[in-house]
Symmetry: C2
Subunit: 271 residues, 2 copies
Amino acid sequence: MKIFYLCSQKLNALMEGEHNLARLIREGNLRYLPHLSLDCVIFGFHEGQLKVLLLKMKHKSDWSLPGGFVAHTETLEQAADRVLNERTGLSGIFLKQFHVFSDLSRSDIPQTLSELRRDGIEAKVGDWLAQRYISVGFYALVSFSKVVPRADMLSDACEWRDLSDVGKLILDHNQILGKALETMRLQLNYQPIGYNLLPPSFTMPELQRLYEAILGKKLDRRNFQRRMLGFGILRRLPERKAGGAHKAPYLYEFDHEAYKRALLEGLHGGW
Amino acid sequence: MKIFYLCSQKLNALMEGEHNLARLIREGNLRYLPHLSLDCVIFGFHEGQLKVLLLKMKHKSDWSLPGGFVAHTETLEQAADRVLNERTGLSGIFLKQFHVFSDLSRSDIPQTLSELRRDGIEAKVGDWLAQRYISVGFYALVSFSKVVPRADMLSDACEWRDLSDVGKLILDHNQILGKALETMRLQLNYQPIGYNLLPPSFTMPELQRLYEAILGKKLDRRNFQRRMLGFGILRRLPERKAGGAHKAPYLYEFDHEAYKRALLEGLHGGW
C-alpha cells in the first residue's frame, strides 16, 4: 500500500477537504510541478532525548516524514514551509536543504499502479502519482517544548518519536532521515548548536546532553567542558544553578556575538 | 537571446548532431524530466590562481556554466557526470551537490517564448523549454593541469577563466557560481583541501597560495603555517626544495590517513 501512503501524505493541500485520490491523479499537475517532492526531517530536543517528527497515516502501520509537493508558483523553500505547516501545524521553522534524493528505485511505478488499482483508482504510467519523484530533503532542529504538532485530517497522529524508536518508515524515508542526521552530526564538528534549544542559561551537563543526544553517544565530561570553553562562545554567569550548595554547577549563557561569528566562520575561526 | 543560450547550452545530448531547437521543444520531454536542470561549477587551481570552467556559445557574448538536463533513467549524479563529459570532455570528476536553485525569476517564460519566436520557432507555455526550471548545483575542485577541456559543437570555446575575470554569465549563473564559492570557502574552515591539487610534495608557501586563491585574500605566513601544522595532516620531508641553499623551504606531503580522518571528522577532530 505504498502509494496510499504517498497519496495520503501529500494529498492535503490539493484536496482541500476531499479525500479523493482520483482527483489528485487528474489534477495534481495543475497545481504542482511533476516529478518533484520534498521531505522534512524535523528534529526536536527534549529532556536529553533527540526526537523526530513523524506522521502516522490513517489505517496504516508505517510512519512517514512530513512531505509534499512544490506548487508551480512556489520556491522550494516556500513549499517546504507550507507543507510543514499544513501537515504538522508548525510555522516559522528555519528549514535547510541538505540533499536531493534521486535514486531510480525510490519510485516503483508498476507497484504504484497496482496499489492504485487495489484502491479502485484507474491510473496509467505518467499520471500524477504514477511517476518518478525526485525529493529535496530539508531539515531543522527545533525546541521540542515550543511546538505542539497536530495531526491533519489524513493522519491518525503527528508525533515526536524518539530517534531510537523510529522503526521502518515508508519509501526511502529511513535513508532520508539518516542523511539528515549525518549532516547534523558533521555540523557539530564546526558549527555551534544549542541556541533556541536550551533555556537562556544552562549548565555544562545540560549542554553536554544535547551533544550526546545528537551524536548518539556518551562524551567525556572533562574533555567536553575544556573543548566547549575553548570555542569562546559561552559566558559563565556569576550565580550557580539554584540550590546554592557549594557543588552546584555553574550556569552559562551563549555569547551571541561570538555564537553568530562561529556560525559564519566555524567554531575555530575563519581564515 | 536568453533562450538560445539555454538551448545551446543543453541541446547537445538530445540533438545528437542536429542543431534543432524545434525538435528539443517537441521531444525534450521524451528523454528528460521536465522542469529540472543542473549546472556544474568546476573550479581549477593553477599557478596560484583559482579558475572556473566556462562555455562560450557560438555567436554569443555571455558565457555560461556547463549545464544540462536529467534523463528519465538517470540519477542526478549520473546526469551531472554525463553533462560535464558531453559539454567539456571531463570525466571521473567527483561532483558534489551544493544547492538547489528554485527562484521563480530564474525562468522568464514570456521572454523565452519571444526569443524562440525570434529564432523562428513556435512554442507555447508548457513546451519543453518554455517552462520553469529548478536547477541543482554541483561543484568540484580539480587539478587544472590534468584536464584539457574541449569545446563541443555548440560552443566556440570551453575554457578555464580566472575567477576575477568571469564577468556577466547567462541567467542566474553568477549567483550559482557565487554560492558554490561560498560553500567551498566555508569548507576551508573545517575540511582539508589540496590533495590532488598540489604535487605529491609541496612547500608551505605553495599550500598557502591554494588557500589564498580560494579565499580571495592574502593570509599571514606565520599564522598560516602554525595553524596548518596544528591540524596534524602534514608530514615534513627530510629533503628541502631543490636548490639546496640553507634558506630553501621545507617540503611537505599529506599524511593520507590523517587527511582522510579530517575529511570525515573535521580538521579539529570529531566529538
